[in-house]
């Protein structure tokens, strides 16, 4: 406590500093944060709008305010400094801080408001609309949180706190300038396990498995609705705005009563709603009108605007239908967004289901598309290289491949069995040493000598099966536990460059190979090694997802590729994060110039 007092005293002496760009940890919360009070002069404020009491490791109570952003608002910091000067406060712990706190909270704290974006269909453009709004509002100086109550996606990402949330919300949080997206933004995550059963992840932790009937029959009316309500309330306490994303269509009238992803969530958040419709497939006016009119009256009044998205060619011609549309439905059209090509992570398997290849580069990288492929956003940075990624489902698809990627899977054992029966496993074995091969997570586990599943966690029956035998490694699926960590570190090969990544997996591997990376876990700061490498055979394996995002490993791997007798030239490669940042800016620009932002601000309760 004395140590904190000393720090606060230093801060009081120093005065207002704004953002501390020189700090190694900057920005620890959000871009543009005020760093005057890295240590809070109000601690512990015991105000439950800003923090909560936790039970510490030794059973003692600890006031936690790690989610509090209030003290990082410039207006708050400037107010405190001016009050401290006015009152002549010089020491931390001065009782007058309680008065300053009370006044600051009265002036600057208010519960945030929520706005929801629903789509007439899947792939309507909800995610990018929310991402664009997050960036636009962030640029205007607001602190914004993305939210999606229920997400079905195989692309999840580990947060710094060791929980997992969907990739879409991670990107939206980045758009909002947030550095630490967390599971409040995506409290319910459904991860399909088979045809009808999904693993339900609540607040970032595996909760239970449900089929469709039990999910809607038990989970939603039981814990589901209150989980949504509590998390929205949490975000409203900490952020100016909560930008919510719906799931699928809000007008599925056969399951309307059990909805917590669309209008049900809007009701919990008391949010106004924007409907986004993808124009590309045709029928957009009908989809929009039908969606609005099928929603019951008491919820329909929340819908305050329609956005027609992805209009190719001449938007003027499309606009000629708008007056009649507005007359029929009574909701104004607040945006017509032209088609644009943006580099953003793949949202879900729907987007990849129907494509055979991605990218148009010269090199051919075969990524095996198992039936349960997961976290294939790992591949996204490759699409920006001089590479064509071929999704291989048959042994022939690997013919002519310059390199092979074995991506992650929701079920290593089942997908390895599929690889064997499809003849792909033998094909991969035959290409050993001829082309570079990298396995990520489940794909890495497959590269080992043996996979043991004594409890039948992966396969339903107890068994041990041979892997691809590319590494001397044994993986055991010991219990139903999952490792979720977010790490950074460096390569132990090549130029030893920096890497970042995250682990999301069941099973532990015993590896008797040279390690590929040295990594530090972002949560407990443990330093360990990861992965396996045989440089002479061009074999690489790692548990880290997102490993191609940063340049060093991507260029190292690509530089091992020989295409048409020539080595791959990776000198133009860039970090995926920088490219993403540029694309978010461009996306926000496109939306800002084609969307009635005044209408949006009114929905958020900001008067003109």
């Amino acid at each position: 406590m004395d140590c904190i007092k000393k720090k606060v005293n230093e801060e009081l002496q120093r005065g207002w500093i704004g953002s501390d760009l020189a700090c190694n940890y900057h920005p620890c919360h959000f871009t543009g944060q005020d760093c005057t009070f890295c240590y809070c002069p109000f601690y512990p404020c015991h105000d439950t709008d800003l923090g909560e009491m936790l039970v510490g490791r030794r059973g003692n109570e600890v006031w936690s305010c790690s989610d509090c952003l209030f003290i990082h608002r410039t207006e708050v910091c400037q107010f405190i400094i001016s009050e401290v000067g006015r009152l002549g406060v010089t020491e931390a712990g001065d009782p007058r801080f309680m008065d300053i706190f009370a006044e600051a909270k009265k002036r600057f704290w208010h519960e945030g408001s929520a706005l929801m974006v629903v789509g007439a269909t899947s792939d309507a453009g909800k995610s990018i609309t929310v991402a664009a709004l997050c960036r636009i509002l962030h640029r205007r100086g607001y602190i914004v949180a993305p939210f999606k109550s229920q997400n079905m996606s195989l692309n999840a990402k580990a947060t710094r706190m060791g929980t997992e949330i969907a990739m879409a919300q991670t990107v939206q949080a980045k758009a909002a300038g947030l550095k630490t997206p967390d599971s409040h933004m995506n409290p319910i995550l459904l991860k399909p396990k088979g045809d009808t059963v999904s693993q339900v992840v609540v607040c970032g932790k595996p909760y239970a498995d449900y089929d469709v009937e039990s999910y809607y029959g038990e989970f939603v009316p039981g814990p589901g609705r209150s989980i949504v309500r509590e998390n929205i309330a949490f975000l409203k306490r900490h952020y100016d705005f909560v930008l919510m994303e719906g799931a699928g269509s809000p007008a599925e009238i056969n399951i309307y009563d059990v909805d917590i992803a669309n209008m049900g969530a809007a009701r919990e958040a008391d949010a106004d709603v924007i409907l986004v419709v993808n124009v590309e497939w045709g029928g957009a006016f009908a989809y929009a009108l039908g969606t609005i009119e099928l929603i019951p009256e008491e919820d329909r009044r929340r819908i305050k605007g329609v956005v027609f998205n992805n209009v190719r060619g001449d938007t003027e011609r499309f606009r000629t239908g708008i007056p009649e549309f507005e007359r029929l439905c009574g909701v104004p059209v607040i945006g017509v967004i032209p088609h644009g090509d943006f580099v953003l992570p793949s949202e879900d398997s729907e987007a990849l289901r129907s494509v055979a290849t991605m990218g148009h580069g010269r090199c051919r990288i075969a990524a095996v598309r198992y039936p349960r492929i997961a976290n294939f956003t790992d591949l996204d940075p490759l699409f920006l290289e001089d590479v064509t990624v071929v999704f291989a489902e048959r042994p022939e698809d690997l013919d002519g491949a310059d390199a092979i990627v074995l991506p992650g899977t929701k079920n290593t054992v089942q997908d390895l069995l599929w690889m064997e029966s499809a003849g792909i496993a033998d094909k991969v074995r035959s290409l050993r040493g001829k082309v570079p091969i990298v396995g990520i997570c489940g794909g890495y586990q497959m590269m080992g000598r043996e996979l043991r599943d004594p409890e039948g966690i992966e396969g339903g029956v107890s068994r041990t099966l041979p892997g691809l035998g590319l590494f001397d490694m044994t993986t055991t699926f010991g219990d139903y536990s999952k490792r979720v960590v977010n790490s950074e570190g460096r390569m132990l090969v090549g130029d030893g460059g920096d890497i970042t990544g995250y682990e999301l997996h069941m099973g532990m591997s015993e590896v008797r190979e040279e390690p590929l990376f040295e990594i530090t876990n972002n949560f407990d700061r443990d330093r360990v090694t990861d992965g396996a490498v045989r440089e002479n055979e061009m074999l690489y394996g790692t548990y880290l997802h997102g490993i191609f995002d940063r340049k060093p490993f991507r260029t190292h791997f690509l530089s091992r590729i020989t295409h048409g007798g020539e080595r791959y030239d990776a000198s133009d490669s860039r970090d995926y994060d920088d490219i993403l940042e540029e694309n978010l800016e461009r996306l926000a620009d496109v939306f800002e110039s084609n969307l009635d932002m005044d209408a949006v601000m009114r929905m958020l309760g900001v008067g003109e």
Binding site: G248, G282, G290
Partner: protein
Amino acid sequence: MRILVLGTSSDAGKTVIGAMICRHMARRGLDPVPFKAFNLSLNSYATKDGGEIGMGQTFQAWACGLEPETDMNPVLYKPSGGGRMQMIVGGRPLMDIGNGVEPDREAAVRGIREAYGRLSSAHGCVVCEGSGSPAELNLMSSDLANTGLMRLLGVPAVLVADIERGGAFAAIYGTWRIIPEDVRPLLKGFVINRFRGDASILGDGIRRIEELTGMRCLGVIPYLPLRFPEEDSLSRSEGRLQGEDVRQAFLSNLDELLDAAEAGGFDFRLLEDITDEGQSRRTTTRLTTDE
């Protein structure tokens, strides 16, 4: 007999459902023939009479056991790049349109009327296919293949909605709402296409749409991993296609789809009633004219 298959979006499955109806009618010996008044497509097929028609009607003709002919697709626009399109009427290039040049609508209507007349007098049942969505408010006034055809010839219609992307109920209801009131009574039924899972979950929604619109649900077509000819670039080419003769391979996939629809309780009886209604309506018109 006649029927028009409309879709709530591009790629809703009009062509395949149309082909399935053709196949059913052919099995029942009702002598069907496919017809699509207007087609915007890059994939065309050269007919034996020296013209060209869209791939979709070619496939539907095969489903009927017929050779494709230009009358099945009287007006065809082929994109030729740079916003320009070639307008083909009756299998022959008529003019280049786009970039400010408007199509010759009168020639198109004449082409459609004549081709339809020849097909309906030579065959027992004309299975028409719409184009895109019939509810494009910005294109409604120039429509030829959807509400345009309904108004021109009084053909009863069914609406196909793709449920794979979600929002199918909204799409059906919204399309019905937007279709102008003078032709709306011709919308008799709807089909939900590409459904995965247990269709009983849709029951309440289907009943609600039936109540709201007066249309009847003909059935729910399950998603099957089958490949069919691609009408245009928006189609998804996935699924199985086996055999050396492409035509036979497509037809065997179509038979599989038809069998699945029958097994899933698709109401072919209702379909025939709707098709017949088109017949009686036309008969009535003719009698009136005769008097």
